[in-house]
Symmetry: C2
């Protein structure tokens, strides 16, 4: 889950400034994202993906500002 | 960047409880992670990885509680 283009990412901006203050060079851009890994028991992959999408819609994401990718975990 | 095993993930716990309250079933476990994508300009991949590791050590991670993976972005 990340912020949509055009939505100000305050944490990323703070990281970019701080890296400059620390003298870490060549930083062109910083972005941030949040990962929620939800493990479902007793359901198949397609049902798990459906439930994950429901969790995103009902709880995790604000569609005004967030861009979300739902995908099986790389295990 | 994620919390080390044994470090309580308050946000994940809150998500797990809220999914239960919302009636989303079969949730066995929730974990969270934070992604910082840092783009470096004018350096090769190995130098970028070295600078990213320095950013982690100097700014982003607390080694007491965080487990960090530094990797080239999948573009």
């Amino acid at each position: 889950m990340e912020l949509k283009p055009g939505v100000f990412d305050a944490e990323a901006d703070s990281v970019r400034r701080s890296l400059g203050l620390l003298g870490i060079p060549h930083v062109a851009e910083v972005t941030t994202a949040r990962v929620y890994r939800i493990q479902f028991d007793g359901v198949d992959a397609s049902e798990a993906e459906r439930l994950a999408a429901r969790a995103v819609d009902r709880l995790l994401a604000n569609p005004v500002i967030h861009r979300v990718t739902v995908a099986p975990a790389a295990r």
